[in-house]
Symmetry: C2
Subunit: 104 residues, 2 copies
DNA sequence: AGAATATGCAGGTAAATACCTGCATGTCAA
DNA sequence: TTGACATGCAGGTATTTACCTGCATATTCT
């Protein structure tokens, strides 16, 4: 997993919207995705390239079209490494701050 | 939740390291955190400000020191919105791609 | 074949980002 | 009260990012 690419990919509202669009209807072409985006096609292409580099989207060429599919695996890995770790200690981490605010 | 700030905050290795450092020992001062970072103090301050703006870190002033505490809540919210959604459909999303690769 | 369609490639710009140095302020302790 | 220490503030630079326009290539359909 490359946490860096995954988080950077998710750190942009356009790219999160692309994931949501693909979640509604997987396997859309570049053109279909662009219809929902309000930016030039080439800008959308760049966003999709970033999602692909983060392995969050896989593509398949079909004739002159390019189909885009969500790959949920990196999200799961990010969750395992970056969310569960803190989730496990959630209450004790909050307790640390509370104790300090109350004056030790 | 501000997904944008949270993901952008997580999209930098220094900031993820800061979270790991605080996870090992919560409530560290700026100076303590800097000792583990290999960059100027002011650069670390900027990273901590970004984590604080994303609400991933809360601070408490104690005399001339500033203590830093992890706040795990935004991570949990990001998980609920951005991971569980895809996790629920994980197998069907992967199936879409597999089907396409096999030629419909 | 030729026109329409879908995507790729090559730049170019403005704003954001991640660093830095230098100096100022506030706090503690002898 | 003065020196040492912890942090804050101001500004400066190089790189990355998120857009764009214009043109090229590849595929389909008539």
């Amino acid at each position: 997993m490359q946490a860096d690419k995954v988080f950077k990919a998710l750190g942009d509202p356009t790219r999160r919207k692309l994931l949501d669009l693909l979640c509604e209807k997987n396997g859309q072409t570049l053109g279909q995705l662009c219809e929902n985006l309000d930016m030039a096609r080439q800008s959308a292409t760049q966003h999709l390239e970033i999602l692909e580099a983060a392995n969050l989207v896989s593509t398949v060429r079909r004739g002159r079209e390019k189909l885009h599919f969500i790959n949920p695996v990196p999200l799961h890995e990010v969750y395992e490494r970056w969310v569960r770790k803190f989730e496990r200690q959630r209450l004790s981490l909050l307790h640390d701050l509370k104790k300090e605010l109350e004056g030790e």
